[in-house]
């Protein structure tokens, strides 16, 4: 195991092919990291959506319950 490159400049230069090597590594890095973050955030954003969804659901249930309740009481009054 020996380091292939002697100097940091060599490492960046890649024997004259630095542009191509680093471009493709950059694409891969951005692509893979971007997708990783995106798929990780997906759960979080879905959870937020679901919180809203459940709030609506419980609101509606409560409204329905209230509605039924007032109906019941009106029947009693009659």
């Amino acid at each position: 195991m020996t380091l292939y490159f002697q100097t940091f400049q060599d490492f960046i230069d890649m024997g004259g092919h630095g542009f191509f090597v680093w471009t493709s590594y950059a694409f891969c890095f951005v692509g893979l990291l971007g997708y990783f973050i995106y798929s990780n955030n997906l759960s979080q954003s879905n959870k937020k959506e679901l919180v809203k969804f459940y709030r609506k659901l419980t609101d509606r249930e409560q409204r329905l319950a209230k509605h039924n309740h007032t109906n019941d009481s009106s029947e009693v009054n009659e």
Partner: protein, 247 residues
């Protein structure tokens, strides 16, 4: 064995199980990538013909392999879901599509960038690049078809049929593209042949392949978890998990 299989088919169990597993997978992926990059960029020798451009292959070859692999996983899980009507299989199948498309796209981009110093042009109608372009179209078709349906169950089943049809077609497409390529370009371009592999190059490639494999599993798991949340929103455990109470 079978109980394990049944458990795996339950979204709730998978979600809870993957919650424990996910941090491990992330760490392993990260470490493998670091090791692979160190081996590939710093320690490996270069091919005397290709020079340092050979280092692109450490990220290109695994991406290409995983692009194919993800399609096979997508089609097989789709078929399992289609035949035995297993919800989890469909979720995995659908989640594979975008990861696989990403791998295929990366394989195309890195292949093209590799081609510039090697062939003197970014794009060449090389058999392998062309096959991967078509594979990318197949992924696009799968995702578009799945998105087109309002009902997720219908979407799952239709997309599964498409994935299986695609799986049958991939070898045929690959064969015909290879044949077409040799017909039109003959032996003028044979530069994609494997460079003479030293042990350290092979090691770097294998570590990168493992890193991609774990990346695939991690990203897939994350997508599957997000998908489970949405699909199981009416079941009690998701509500409990999200809102933190059992109302």
């Amino acid at each position: 064995m079978w109980t394990w299989f049944y458990q795996l088919a339950s979204p709730k169990w998978f979600y809870q199980f993957s919650t424990r597993l996910l941090p491990w997978f992330r760490w392993i992926t990260g470490l493998l990538f670091l090791l692979g990059l160190a081996l590939g960029l710093l320690f490996s020798q270069v091919d005397y013909q290709q020079g340092n451009t050979v280092r692109i292959l450490y990220i290109h070859v695994p991406a290409a392999f995983m692009g194919m692999f993800a399609y096979v996983v997508m089609a097989i899980t789709g078929a399992i879901g289609f035949v035995w009507r297993i919800k989890m299989a469909h979720i995995v199948s659908v989640s594979c599509a975008s990861v696989g498309a990403l791998f295929t796209l990366l394989a195309l981009i890195t292949g093209a960038v590799w081609g510039k110093p090697t062939w003197g042009t970014y794009w060449i109608w090389d058999a392998r690049l062309t096959s991967f372009l078509i594979l990318f179209f197949l992924y696009l078709g799968f995702m578009a078809l799945h998105n087109a349906f309002d009902d997720k169950k219908t979407a799952d089943r239709a997309a599964a049929v498409l994935a299986i049809v695609g799986l049958v077609n991939i070898p045929i497409i690959h064969f015909s593209v290879e044949w077409w390529n040799t017909l039109h370009q003959g032996a003028t371009i044979s530069k994609f042949e494997k460079p003479s592999m030293d042990a350290d190059m092979l090691a770097a490639l294998l570590v990168m392949l493992a890193a991609y494999q774990f990346y695939f599993l991690t990203a897939l798991m994350q997508r599957v978890r997000a998908e489970i949340l949405v699909r199981e929103k009416l079941s009690g455990w998701v509500q409990k998990l999200v809102t933190g109470n059992n109302s």
